[in-house]
């Protein structure tokens, strides 16, 4: 099946759980095969099938829940990260950088997360992303920029927090 692994990975990032991701991929393939006559030979198949997956996600229960929490005009608003509820202890448990990156990606609002993943993981061009998400190329660029900036800020804060906790931990050890 074409793009099966990639579509599943993308679906899993969108839905954030295995069961919904599997339902989403299965429904995507069924819809793609039913509507294959609408696919124009010579156009971008990858963008077409990712678009089906994303549209299916947006109309799913999980997708509706996610989009209902998205600002009405997110391109105009400065992105503010959600307040972190993590304690120094939970950050200490989350030691490796890759885990930090995973959680930072996961914390991104869905419209930034999907744009970033299509660019970095699926290695789509800006034009392909625009076709997949049905948005102008300029919006792709601004979403990418915001996603990266947010990710850097998020990681910077977490790593700084870790360092501070490490210092505290060292001080505590010296005191013992």
């Amino acid at each position: 099946m074409p793009l099966f692994d990639q579509l599943y990975n993308f679906a899993r990032w969108l839905t954030r759980n295995t069961e919904d991701a599997e339902d989403l991929v299965q429904e995507t393939y069924v819809k793609a095969l039913k509507g294959f006559s609408s696919f124009q030979l010579g156009t971008n198949f990858r963008a077409w099938i990712y678009r089906i997956l994303r549209n299916t996600f947006l109309t799913s229960r999980t997708g509706l829940r996610v989009t209902m929490t998205v600002p009405l005009d997110p391109e105009q608003d400065a992105l503010e990260l959600a307040v972190e509820n993590e304690t120094p202890e939970t950050i200490l448990m989350d030691r490796s950088n890759s885990q930090l990156v995973l959680s930072a990606i996961d914390d991104l609002p869905v419209q930034y997360r999907e744009t970033l993943l299509l660019c970095e993981v699926e290695e789509m061009s800006y034009q392909e992303i625009a076709e997949t998400l049905c948005i102008p190329v300029g919006t792709v660029m601004s979403r990418l920029s915001r996603a990266r900036r947010t990710l850097r800020a998020h990681l910077g804060r977490k790593l700084q927090g870790e360092e501070a906790v490490m210092e505290v931990a060292k001080g505590t050890n010296h005191g013992l």
Binding site: M1, P2, F4, D5, Y8, N9, R12, W13, T18, A21, E22, V25, Q26, Y29, V30, L33, K34, F36, S37, F39, L41, F45, R46, N97, S98, V101, L102, I105, L116, L117, C119, E120, V121, S125, Y126, M141, L144, S145, R148, L151, R152
Partner: protein, 249 residues
């Protein structure tokens, strides 16, 4: 800190999205600007980290099988009545042994249909669906010489609605074969030809096309070759093209 001139373009540069001339100019700038090159390296590391972290999830093998089966033939809805399940279970127990051989064959057939459908979809999705581009059968047929271990005839299409777009080599059951693509009223139809004896799955003529499949398909064996005609065109169109091939062989 990134210099003012480089800041805005750095992400586009690393994404390979700058126009070619601008890319060359900016590349020269990054190589000579210390702050830009340092920031480019940091951003590149971040890109690679996201790339690795982003490929985190892989589908379960069982899920993959389920979707393949679903595509091959959509499962029938159950009636949801307990007593019917009980009766069905009894029937299954009685005839289970007799059915096992048949089901195995049917599963193989479903698998073959699924693979043929995959080949058809993946080829049409490709930027270059055919390796020999020609509407002339006398160009397309000789192209396969030396590439596949058999020869076959292509039908004359005059006075028909079909047109030949071209062909390519393909594989099924690790066996090389020919894949031809035809056009009829903007629908694309694939014709696959393989050596019958090389296919591991033994098939009966016209036994493959599941009733609820999204594609129409016809298959038959002729002259030691196994033919598959598949596409989203109507069943009469698929049948017409199959008849042309049968007449030519």
């Amino acid at each position: 800190m990134v210099c003012e001139s480089g800041n805005a373009k750095l992400d586009m540069y690393l994404d390979g999205e700058l126009p070619e001339a601008e890319m060359r100019t900016f590349d020269a700038h990054v190589r000579s600007c210390h702050s830009c090159s340092a920031d480019a390296l940091t951003r590149l590391q971040m890109k690679r980290t996201i790339q690795v972290a982003g490929r985190r999830f892989t589908p379960r093998a069982e899920f993959r099988r389920r979707v393949q089966q679903d595509i091959a033939h959509k499962p029938q809805r159950s009636l949801g009545l307990g007593w019917m399940f009980a009766v069905a279970a009894g029937v299954i127990l009685v005839v289970g042994a007799l059915m096992s051989t048949y089901m195995g064959t049917r599963s193989d057939r479903g698998q073959v249909f699924s693979e043929i459908a995959d080949l058809h979809v993946a080829t049409l999705a490709s930027a270059s669906p055919v390796d020999v581009i020609s509407a002339d059968r006398h160009t397309v047929k000789p192209w396969f010489q030396g590439k596949i271990p058999f020869a076959f005839n292509l039908p004359e299409l005059q006075n028909s609605e079909f047109s030949l777009l071209g062909g390519r080599m393909t594989y099924l059951d690790q066996t090389p074969g020919a894949h031809l693509i035809y056009d009829v009223r903007k629908h694309h139809i694939s014709v696959f030809v393989f050596q019958e004896q090389s296919l591991r799955t033994k098939l009966d003529d016209n036994s493959l096309s599941p009733k609820k499949a999204p594609f129409n398909m016809e298959t038959w064996s002729q002259g030691g070759l196994r033919y598959f005609v598949i596409g989203d065109a109507s069943a009469p169109d698929i049948d017409s093209l199959a008849k042309l091939f049968k007449a030519a062989s």
